[in-house]
Structures are given as C-alpha cells and as structure tokens.
Symmetry: C2
Subunit: 107 residues, 2 copies
C-alpha cells in the first residue's frame, strides 16, 4: 500500500511522528545548520552550499516551513529564511517530553 494509517493513531502520535519525519532528511538538517550559522540567510546561497538543485532546495524549505521551524521574510528580490526560535524551543521541549516519558524498560 504505502499509506501510513494515520487514523489508527492519536493526534499527538501523528504530530510527533510528523516532526520527526520532516527532520529525517540530511538536506533539511544541513539547511537548518547552514541557516543557523549565517547572518544573512538568503536561499540562493543554499543551492551552492548544499549542492542540490534550486527547485529541490525550495521544496525542502517549504517542508521546514510547514512545521513552523522556518519563517521567511521577503527582502527585495531575495528571501530571508530564519529559524523560528519560539517554535524551535517548543519542538525541542516536545521531543524531550517524549523521550522522558517513554523510557521505562522491562528486561
């Protein structure tokens, strides 16, 4: 099939999985890391820096935006993509809460 049966899981499970999933691509990790160390976070740099086609980078940026991790502001002809720090911390907390709550073993 290839369809994740989201309907049999609850919303927190689906949401958490979605966050993990979007972080689960090396290009998106690299994009976040690169943006974080730039002062001027212009998308065009990313194409050269990461080494993927412009269309591909744009797609990855869109996905990172979809979970709120990036915010983009138009700056003349360019875009200024930045990490949304509030969301970033929120997400980190959510993941930690998952790790903290889910770690009792039985063997």
């Amino acid at each position: 099939m290839g369809v994740t049966k989201t309907q049999i899981f609850d919303q927190p499970q689906n949401e958490l999985a979605q966050f993990f999933k979007i972080l689960g691509h090396p290009a998106r990790i690299a994009i976040l890391q690169y943006i974080s160390k730039q002062n001027a976070c212009i998308c065009n740099d990313l194409v050269e820096e990461i080494g993927l086609a412009q269309a591909t980078i744009s797609q990855h940026l869109k996905e990172l935006k979809s979970i709120g991790l990036l915010k983009g502001e138009i700056e003349g002809k360019s875009m200024c993509y930045c990490i949304n720090l509030d969301r970033w911390n929120e997400l980190q907390q959510l993941l930690n809460s998952f790790f903290d709550t889910t770690k009792y073993n039985c063997c």
Copy 2:
C-alpha cells in the same frame, strides 16, 4: 528520482537524519510508548494493541532495532522487546545537542 543524495552530506548529518526518520512514523512512536508502559513486552500484544498486521509490526520493530532503540530477547516462543535505555539516553542527548547547537537566527 526519489533517491536521497546521502553522499553530499557528512556522516553526522546522515546519521542524525536517519534517527529522525525512523522515529518519524506514528506506528513506531506508538510501539515505543506501548512497550514502555508494559511489564511484559511481548510482540504479539502489539498486533492487537496497534492494529496493524503482524508482518507490519515485525517490520517496524526491525527498524527500531536497526538504530539500537530496541533490544529483543527470545523468551520461549515469544520475543521480549525492550527499550535499550543506554541507547535511548544517548539518542536523546544527540538530538538535544543538535537543537542546542542549531538555533541562532538572524531576523
């Protein structure tokens, strides 16, 4: 294409993405949560609990094992799947280190 170009990223980036990716499925989240709250973590329960076919559950378990998050011990006819606590904590730390290191914004 559909092929992730892993060769253009470095090992830490690929590894981190791989961890995120494997956590990025609601069934695997649910499996971890269920195992963590059981005393007896027998796989057969999971099929009823999660609501996916036995073959599918087995496949998800295999992926969780692949990043070391689960360890399985044979217990008679059954398997006792448990969270590998050392690995669990190690991974939590790795993800936190990513979040902590990568959060400077520019806007």
